[in-house]
Symmetry: C2
Subunit: 196 residues, 2 copies
DNA sequence: ACCCTTTTGACACGCAATGCCATTTGTCGT
DNA sequence: ACGACAAATGGCATTGCGTGTCAAAAGGGT
């Protein structure tokens, strides 16, 4: 498949960029779906076929970060113990975003500007937490963790990520994202038998 | 103020209960604002004056839990070190919900049945995380924590709460909520100098 | 050039949420 | 007990998101 997929990718990217741009300038509720669609010369109906809700136009950027963690984790779990692998994956994601820090800040600002966007973001993180816990607890793994343990580990690591991003955005810490993450991670420790 | 406030409280409670009931039976999107309002013989307009959004009819129940944590924390912080106080507050909230476990399960099920409700819930937890972090980092406190540390502690504790509720709802653990919480809490440890 | 599949646009619709104003319902002073 | 005042409610109109449906357009394979 060539031209068709290409066009779809292009439209999607255009919508994503136009959406971020408009929402960043005018604000979230001041920007209608019709506005974003018009900016890309596409019908509103089409936009909602690419993105289930208006929030997703912004929040899709978060998906990228999640993809990094997912892939990184899958790879690392082959050789590293779960906790180490997860921490490293989260750190890797933050390293990527640190490089496009200016861009990342724009997105985070847009997200924080509106309740329904941040709600959606939080919900996605919750889903990812669940997903990662399921992986760590999977019976297919060499030593599957009990559900409570798996969820605790997963949830805690994402708490570290939140803490990192929050500190970074609030500007109370002026170092790099991975550095802040290391600081946060140095505060909490897992039971040794979890780090099998 | 007597009769007026009373009536308001009653209407609010009625809406809350009718809402939970209908949504539990028919599902979230199958239940309209008009339905819930009609069940209490009130105009839809009025319902939306009591609750900003339809989600809030369900999610208000979560507020109660948050109130417990808030109050408990404020009290305990007077005498206990921050981490200990926060952990105890979270545990206290879970103990309360454990007593109305049947009811609590209904609510959690309703929340999990729909994306926009769980999104709203997650966002509220995120806000509470932020709020608690602000308290722990407040310059008014005897030994205020740095922002990263405060946020990490706060976020981690709520991760434990999530893990507890998740394990409990998924039925993989058949003990009480506080017991599960203890298990989760026993897995993570904070740096000693944080537990000042 | 042809047919077949996918994508898009246009229209209609339901419902949540908000603003506005008239009406009702408590509250308080006299 | 009555009337003035404030608060709560209902009804109405409006906007905007999201969905279903179908016809038109664009892409791909022969």
């Amino acid at each position: 498949m060539g031209l068709r997929e290409d066009k779809k990718d292009r439209t999607r990217t255009q919508l994503l960029e136009a959406g971020l741009d408009l929402i960043h300038k005018r604000g979230f509720e001041a920007t209608t779906v019709a506005d974003i669609a018009a900016a890309v010369s596409v019908s509103p109906r089409t936009l909602l076929r690419y993105f289930p809700t208006k929030e997703d136009v912004i929040v899709s950027w978060v998906q990228d970060g999640m993809t990094i963690i997912r892939e990184e984790l899958e790879e690392r779990l082959k050789s590293e113990p779960p906790v180490v692998a997860l921490l490293a994956s989260a750190r890797a994601m933050l390293a990527v975003f640190d490089e496009k820090s200016r861009f990342f800040l724009t997105i985070e600002t847009a997200i924080r500007s509106n309740r329904s966007i941040s709600a959606r973001k939080e919900q996605m993180i919750a889903e990812l937490t669940d997903e990662v816990a399921r992986i760590l607890a999977s019976p297919d793994r060499p030593s599957p963790l009990p559900w409570v343990v798996a969820y605790t580990v997963s949830g805690t690591v994402f708490a570290l990520v939140r803490a990192t991003i929050s500190s970074w955005v609030e500007g109370r810490a002026r170092t790099s994202l991975p550095d802040i993450f290391d600081t946060a991670a140095s505060i909490v420790h897992f039971e040794e038998n979890v780090t099998n």
